[in-house]
């Protein structure tokens, strides 16, 4: 993972000093809330229903064990002993006091963690997939480029007051685990026919009130030009994005209203006008960042060690191994996913004790590195296969070994009306009830891969549009109702889900999901036809009939 140098450390400490001064001036009445709000948002500080919420950046979802321990410390010292991992690979604390935030930020800065630009109308965390750098089949580690983009976009003087928020995602795999097609800028790292490394650049993807799948603006931008090209896109957006209506202010609306050809032409014109850009990357610049990514000194290990062969007779271990362990690009190693979706638990939460325990396990079994996925789980990316049985026992003890990854109870949910002032309805209790209904692992495995996403309002922080089953909280006569969609997907075949019928009340949501699952089991062509493929094959009608027959 990336190692901060003196320059990186200086910047985040200067940022802490600046925010400390801004908080002081706010509390002394020298700054109004109107003047202060943008400043606190750009340090990750939201106002929620009961308290401030503090969103800390985890750049491209990579953490060291020291950093995870420090997050646990913040949870204990400044919050209520737990944190929530988000759909953008960040972490949120829900009970933070504004007056204590500068101290919390200073504690985090000591280990190279910040909260810069995790909110506000600026560029946000650049997300990659949680297997970056260790998954087989990547052309190279996308996090190197994510770090180049992170530095480029941090405290950018021209783009700190955009029309609206701006999100990047980057993938280096054929199979897109980073959902690049639903981001403002999506980047697909690949090699062209000449063997050069570069990016397919997509723009204008996004969810929320008006979901859009991103469009390709340029099929190949060489690596050395990516920063200048991104600058051209941001400059066109900064100047022409709508500022009259916050619901029409994202770049997806500008792209839609201009059309991709006109938008691309405007970007090209701007880009060509930036001749000899200081942003053109020299090989040495790229190498400098690459050289500060530390990779483990992997040992030469067998793919089928004795420890693994012996443990295979334990059905519980095997159930977990088949579910939560995925192939690593280095023989003898594996990627282990830690489920933060225990039965009956709020999805994506971890206690400070769990964080400390996971940090210890990362030191012992994963060269001190942890990953955060946008599905709100964690991963240990460098586990020797011979250590899997011992690791599993330890993970099970701390409650992060539920073998439900990618299954029906691996639910992605926003905080919803329990926490969030934007919400229409609650999402966490819906998720909890669903995990109870589908607690049986045999049933869950029988159903197979099924992504349920829950958002408490149309802002879609739960990414419900791209859930295989999407659940959206709406308000009807002061009561909580939910619209159900099916058929969404977030990967390289990204699609927005289709509504199956009228919204249903809070008490019926879990029943409806059970009906949908029953319909799928009855209708699937073969046991291995996934839910999402059955929906594609048959459309929404058979599911609608089943669900609304008695409603």
């Amino acid at each position: 993972m990336y190692a901060y140098d003196e320059i990186d450390r200086t910047l985040i400490h200067e940022r802490v000093a600046e925010f400390r001064d801004q908080v002081k001036r706010r509390l002394a009445g020298e700054l109004t809330e109107d003047e202060f709000k943008s400043l606190r948002l750009m340090n990750g500080v939201y106002l929620q229903l009961h308290a401030y919420m503090f969103r800390v950046a985890i750049p491209y979802g990579t953490l060291s064990s020291a950093q995870l321990r420090r997050l646990a410390h913040v949870a204990r010292r400044y919050d209520r002993g737990y944190g929530h991992f988000t759909t953008r690979q960040n972490i949120q604390f829900n009970w933070i006091k504004l007056a204590e935030l500068p101290d919390a930020l200073a504690d985090l800065a000591d280990v190279g963690i910040h909260a810069m630009q995790t909110s506000g109308n600026c560029t946000r965390n650049i997300t990659a997939d949680q297997w970056a750098g260790v998954a087989p089949g990547e052309i190279e580690d996308p996090r190197i480029w994510a770090e180049l983009l992170r530095q480029y976009s941090t405290l950018h003087p021209e783009f700190s007051f955009l029309p609206r928020k701006f999100k990047f995602a980057i993938t280096a795999s054929e199979h897109d685990r980073a959902a690049i097609k639903v981001h403002d800028i999506g980047l697909r790292l690949h090699k062209n026919a000449a063997g050069e490394t570069g990016f397919e650049v997509l723009v204008g993807g996004g969810l929320g009130r008006t979901p859009f799948i991103g469009k390709t603006i340029k099929p190949f931008v060489p690596g050395r030009d990516i920063l200048s090209y991104v600058e051209a896109i941001l400059r066109v957006y900064n100047q022409y994005g709508r500022r009259d209506n916050i619901y029409k202010a994202r770049i997806k609306i500008l792209v839609h209203e201009l059309g991709i050809e006109k938008f691309a032409a405007a970007v090209e014109e701007e880009w060509l006008g930036m001749a000899d850009s200081a942003l053109t990357l020299e090989d040495a610049d790229i190498e400098d960042i690459r050289s500060r990514f530390f990779y483990p000194a992997y040992e030469k290990l067998p793919q089928m060690p004795d420890e693994l062969i012996k443990a295979a007779h334990d059905p519980k271990f095997e159930a977990w191994r088949r579910n939560s362990v995925t192939p690593h690009k280095v023989t003898g190693y594996a990627i282990v996913t830690l489920s933060l979706k225990p039965v009956g638990g709020p999805p994506g939460d971890a206690t400070a004790d769990q964080m400390d325990a996971i940090a210890d396990l990362a030191d012992q079994y994963s060269f001190g590195e942890i990953r955060v996925s946008h599905e709100q789980n964690l991963a240990l990316p460098h586990v020797a296969r011979r250590d899997l049985p011992a690791l599993w026992r330890a993970l099970d003890r701390i409650g992060v070994a539920t073998p439900n990854i990618n299954l029906v109870s691996d639910i992605i949910a926003c905080p919803g009306l329990d926490y969030c002032s934007l919400a229409n309805a609650r999402s966490i209790p819906i998720a909890q009830e669903l995990t109870r209904r589908f607690a049986n692992h045999d049933t869950a495995n029988l159903i197979g891969r099924l992504h349920i996403n829950i958002s408490g309002c149309i802002n879609a922080c739960g990414h419900h549009h791209v859930g295989h089953i999407g659940i959206l909280g709406v308000e009807k006569n002061d009561e909580e109702f939910y619209q159900i969609t099916i058929g969404g997907r977030a990967d390289e075949n990204a699609a927005v889900g289709t509504l199956i019928g009228p919204a249903v009340p809070y008490g019926e949501v879990a029943d409806v999901v059970e009906d949908i699952v029953e319909a799928y089991l009855a209708l699937r062509a073969r046991p291995d036809e996934l839910f999402i493929d059955t929906v594609k094959r048959l459309g929404v009608e058979p599911f609608r009939e089943r669900v609304y027959a008695t409603r």
Partner: protein, 104 residues
């Protein structure tokens, strides 16, 4: 429960003004004495739009002490005690409806 931040001033029954305390984000209610209390029962009650507007304007003027003030419905029980008027205000006054991962 559409977020009040998007609503026009529209009173359909007894209402109060609520906000969050600037320094620590704690939920507070505007009182008759032109101050703030963390107790819902101390909230000033208004019944018509003009009163509500005036109460809100007063609350908003306390920019140092309070953030994000808005008008919210209440219910008054037979004893005259003030209860939250919708689920959002219930959650704000009593806390989340789920068990916290770490018991308080």
């Amino acid at each position: 429960m559409t977020s009040p931040l998007q609503q026009k001033i529209k009173i359909t029954g007894p209402s109060m003004v609520t906000a969050n305390r600037t320094s620590d984000g704690v939920v507070i209610y505007r009182t008759k004495a032109k101050g703030w209390s963390t107790e819902l029962n101390d909230a000033a009650i208004v019944r018509v739009a003009d009163e509500a507007r005036a109460l809100l304007a007063d609350a908003v003027a306390d920019d140092v002490g309070a953030v994000g003030a808005y008008i919210a419905p209440v219910e008054l029980n037979e004893q005259g005690a003030i209860k939250p008027g919708n689920l959002r205000e219930q959650i704000r006054s009593r806390g989340v409806t789920i068990d916290l991962p770490v018991p308080a």
